[in-house]
Symmetry: C2
Subunit: 244 residues, 2 copies
DNA sequence: GGTCAAAATATTGTCGACAATCTGCTCGAC
DNA sequence: GTCGAGCAGATTGTCGACAATATTTTGACC
C-alpha cells in the first residue's frame, strides 16, 4: 500500500558518481535533509533496499548512512528489526533546547573575547533588520534575522566543539522550530534580550555576554515549557514560531 | 613487520555470532575501547582489512564501525585515503572541557530538582571517601571518587540529552585525563567545591547548584589552560591528574 | 470461530569480489 | 642530477549474493 514507483528517477548512477564525489556522502546528505526537513515522518520505517533504490546507491552505502544518522540521533535502530526516523517528544525537545542553551551561552562568552569588529557590525546590522521586521509585523522575517544572529554569535565564538554540538542539536529540532508557538509579546522582549547580548559582546565582557545569553535562553525554555503544557491541555494549539 | 598469523583464532565465526549478539556491535565496542583506552595511538592509520582480521569480522562491518566512530569524533576520515585515530590537540582538549562544563552545569541544575534522597546520600558518602583519600594522600583514589561523584550528579539529573553529549565528550578526553597535571593544592580546593555542589543539590536549589558547578569547572578549565601554556614552555612537565 | 504451529515472506546482518583511486617507485628524457 | 610519465602495489568505494532473523500468512485442529 505504498504505491512505490521506485526505479524511475536516476538511471542508476551506479558505480562511482561522476568526479571525485563519493556516492555515499551524497546519499547521507540527501537522507539527512529528508529527515530534517520533515519529508520523512517520525517513526517511519527506513527499509534499506527501498532507500538504496531511492537514493541510487547500494545497500551497503545505505547501511553506512543509517549508522551515521543513528549516531547523530536522527534515527533509531533496533537489531534485526531495522531503522526508523527518530521520534522526538516534546519533553526531549525541551531537553535539547536546554542543552543548546548551555552551549550557546558558552559561545556567547567566547564571542565576547574573540569577535572581530566586522562580526560585531554584522550583529548590529542584523539587530536593525530585526527591529524593522518587528515594527512591520513580519514575524517570519524576524525569525530569519534571529537565526542569522545566533549563527553569527556561534561563528564569532570560534569554538569548534560548541559549534559542532549545537549543529547536531539543531538538526533534531527543526521539526519543532516550525511547529512551536509564539507567545504574544514575546518578540519585543526577545529583541531587547538580543540587544543586551550584542552590547556585551561589543564591550568585550564575557561574563555579561554569557549571562545575557543565559537569561535569553531561559526565557525561550520557559516559553517552550508553557507551550508544552498548554498543548497537553487542548491539542489544537496553532503552530507558530518561537523566537530564540 | 606485524607478524600477522591472521586466520588462526576463531575458525571463521563467519555468519552470525553465537546467540543474539551482533558481531558488528561487538566490533564497535572493541575498537572504540582500543581508541579510548589509548591502545591505538593518535594519527594511527586504521586500515579496513587489518581491522577486519583483528576484530574477526568482514570489511563491511568495519566500515560501518568507522562511520559511527567518525560521527562520534574519535576518528577522522578522508575520502579515498582512509581513516585515522583522531588527534586531539591541547587546544581542543580545552574546548571539550569547556563544553563539558557547560553541560555539567546544566546537569547539576537539574539534579538539584530531581535527585532522590538515595542519590544525595550516595554523593555524601562519596564526599566522605574523597575526604579520606585526601587525608591519606591517595590522589589516584581521590580521582576515582571524583569521577563517581560527577557520574552520580549526571545520573541524578535524569537529563538524557546532556548525559549523551557529556559521554561523547568524555570519550575524546580520556587520553588527557591521564596526562594532565595536578596543580599543587588543587585537590583541597576541588574538595571544597564539590561539597558546595552537593550542598546545593541537597537543598534543592537549582541556581546555586548550577553556579557551584560552573565555579568548579571554570577552575578546572583554568588549570587546564595554565597546564597547556606551561607545557608549551618546557616539554617535560610531569603527567599527573587533574581533578574535575 | 478461535488458537497454535509451521510454512512463506520480508528484511536485516554479513561476506567476498570487483572497480576506482591513491601512493610510491622506476625509468627514460633533458 | 632532476623532473615528469607511466607503471605496480596497496587501499578504499561499491555492489550483489547468501545466511540469519523477524514478521506475516496459512492451515490444521479443537
Amino acid at each position: 500500500m505504498d504505491a512505490m514507483p521506485p526505479p524511475q528517477s536516476v538511471p542508476t548512477t551506479a558505480g562511482r558518481n561522476g568526479r571525485g564525489r563519493i556516492a555515499a556522502d551524497e546519499a547521507y546528505t540527501r537522507l539527512r535533509e529528508d529527515i530534517v526537513r520533515g519529508r520523512l515522518m517520525p517513526n517511519q520505517r527506513l527499509v534499506e533496499v527501498d532507500l538504496a533504490v531511492t537514493l541510487g546507491v547500494g545497500r551497503t552505502a545505505v547501511r553506512t548512512v543509517l549508522a551515521r544518522l543513528e549516531q547523530e540521533g536522527l534515527v533509531v535502530h533496533e537489531p534485526n528489526r531495522g531503522a526508523r526516523v527518530r521520534m522526538v517528544t516534546e519533553a526531549e525537545a525541551l531537553e535539547i533546547t536546554q542543552a543548546r542553551g548551555a552551549l550557546e551561552a558558552l559561545a556567547a562568552r567566547e564571542a565576547a573575547v574573540k569577535a572581530t569588529p566586522a562580526e560585531v557590525a554584522f550583529m548590529r546590522e542584523t539587530l536593525a533588520q530585526m527591529s524593522a521586521c518587528l515594527k512591520a509585523g513580519d514575524l517570519l522575517a524576524y525569525s530569519d534575522g534571529n537565526a542569522r544572529m545566533h549563527a553569527k554569535i556561534i561563528e564569532a565564538s570560534r569554538h569548534h566543539t560548541a559549534t559542532r554540538l549545537i549543529a547536531g542539536l539543531k538538526a533534531q529540532m527543526v521539526r519543532f522550530q516550525y511547529r512551536t508557538v509564539l507567545v504574544p509579546g514575546r518578540s519585543a522582549r526577545s529583541f531587547v534580550e538580543h540587544t543586551r547580548i550584542v552590547d556585551a559582546i561589543e564591550a568585550g565582557d564575557p561574563d555579561a555576554a554569557e549571562a545575557a545569553m543565559r537569561y535569553h535562553l531561559s526565557h525561550v525554555a520557559d516559553t517552550l515549557r508553557e507551550m508544552t503544557s498548554a498543548h497537553a491541555q487542548h491539542r489544537a494549539s496553532p503552530p507558530h514560531l518561537v523566537h530564540f
